[in-house]
Amino acid sequence: MSKKTLTLMSKDKQLFNIEEHLAVQSVTIRNMVKEDGASSVIPLPRVDSETLALVIEYLNRQQAPEEDEDYVKKFVDERGEIPTLLELAQAALDLDIKKLMDAACMKVADLIKDFTLEEVREALRIENDRTPEEEKAIRDEFQWAF
């Protein structure tokens, strides 16, 4: 087994091994490999280990190209929780893995599509940070929509 292996390091200093020919699906990693041969560990300071594990699972997929679309869809479907998907999307953005990012974002959009205002806030743990005055201003501006 002489296949070259790369080591990726997550935000929380965990190490992950992955074969180079699989890792270069990420444009970011491909560029790094081109530049310095990437003999050492590649640090990914914005990606936590749980997410990186997912990304590597995705990169390790062994699908025929024509089944790839379905695989990505299934892959994100199985991880149908919004925080996981957002982490995944962010990681895919950093690593420049377009298909994965598109699929993850699409899935999030699908999930929150029919959410009410409160449900969106809860799902993403967002605090309502607007003042009552601002709320009123929006209501007035878009009165016709209510």
Partner: protein, 342 residues
């Protein structure tokens, strides 16, 4: 430093297990651990997890997975509490996710979630691409387009009208419902919306049916509109004009839309003079004959007008026995009038 290998190295170590099988195990473990990682559950029965695996998996391997994940569980608990999704790059949140929700949900809920999202939603690109998506998706098959204009944003309105018309609907119906305009001052409404309609209709030279609901429009704009749509066969306007001289509109219709087969002016104000102008143009004086020949369906309902003195031309034509004033012309043509004609 803890190392968790999920990849190739592990595969070579366990030559008996196929990678696919391993992937399955991984996702099962991940699935059952996720509720705990996200703080939804605080416990997990080991037996519960065991049940998920087939007989072949050996306990050592299971333990290996679990140890690998223990670290993650603890960290995930703290991490998901502190993670602030608002720090996501706008290119993910805005362009990739929120934009897909569609204009309605953005207006109704997304922009109200918090100030960050409000800022994202205010970005013109959010709207540009939605307009593009909707119209482009139609690929020329567009037959019904409804435009809600936000009158505070001229660029947006121009943009949408331009976009909509880059691919002019080849079909029959354009519904323009700018309810947004009603909350602004009337003088502006007329001017603004009139311009909007003109711009919108300029390129729809094949338009056959035009419905204008709840809008205010200048008589001149109706003329422009009529001239730009020479194919117009059906015209509907169901809102009272703001102008006191509604006949100007009626004349405008009569002057600019010679090919009309169907006219509906429900709820508009007009006098008999206006009606006569229409009748004159379309019926050329010879009412009954031309009614049969050309107009299939003519509705004119006047409200808010006291009993008017009917002109002889109309009087002659209406059947005194019909108390509702609905008139059927033999030969399939049909004129229905409002309750004033009885």
């Amino acid at each position: 430093m803890k190392t968790l290998n999920i990849s190739s190295k592990q595969k070579t170590e366990n030559e008996n297990s196929t990678p696919i099988f391993e992937n399955d195990c991984m996702s099962i473990v991940r699935k059952s651990l996720r509720p705990i990682c996200k703080g939804k559950r605080e416990w997990l029965m080991i037996s519960e997890l065991k049940g998920l695996f087939s007989e072949e998996i050996n306990p050592a391997k299971l333990a290996y997975f679990l140890i690998g994940y223990n670290v993650n569980i603890e960290r995930s608990l703290t991490m998901s509490e502190s993670r602030n999704w608002l720090q996501m790059p706008d290119e993910i949140m805005g362009e990739m996710i929120l934009q897909r929700l569609g204009a309605v949900q953005i207006l109704m809920s997304v922009q109200k979630v918090c100030t960050t999202w409000r800022r994202i939603c205010k970005d013109p690109t959010m709207w540009k691409i939605i307009g593009l998506m909707a119209v482009h998706r139609s690929c020329g098959e567009l037959i019904d387009i409804t435009l809600y204009f936000d009158e505070t944003n001229d660029d947006l309105r121009d943009h949408i009208s331009r976009l909509a018309l880059d691919e002019p609907p080849s079909g029959h119906l354009v519904g323009l419902s700018p309810r947004a305009f009603e909350i602004s001052e009337p003088a502006l409404l007329l001017r603004y919306y009139g311009l909007g309609v003109k711009c919108a209709v300029k390129r729809l030279s094949h338009l056959e049916t035009l419905e204008l609901s709840n809008i205010y429009i200048h008589a001149e704009d109706i003329e422009v509109l009529g001239r730009n749509c020479p194919q117009l066969k059906s015209f509907t306007m169901n809102r009272r004009f703001l102008d006191c001289n509604a006949d100007a509109h009626t004349y405008a219709i009569a002057n600019s839309m010679p090919g009309l087969r169907h006219l509906n002016l429900t709820g508009t104000l007009g006098t008999d003079d206006g009606v006569q102008a229409i009748l004159h143009v379309y019926l050329d004086g010879n009412l009954e004959k031309l009614c049969k020949e050309r107009i299939k369906d003519f509705k004119y309902k006047r409200d808010n007008i006291p009993e008017a003195n009917e002109d002889s031309e109309i009087d002659d034509f209406y059947d005194d026995d019909d108390p509702l004033g609905d008139y059927g012309v033999s030969g399939g043509s049909d004129i229905s009038a409002g309750d004033d004609y009885d």
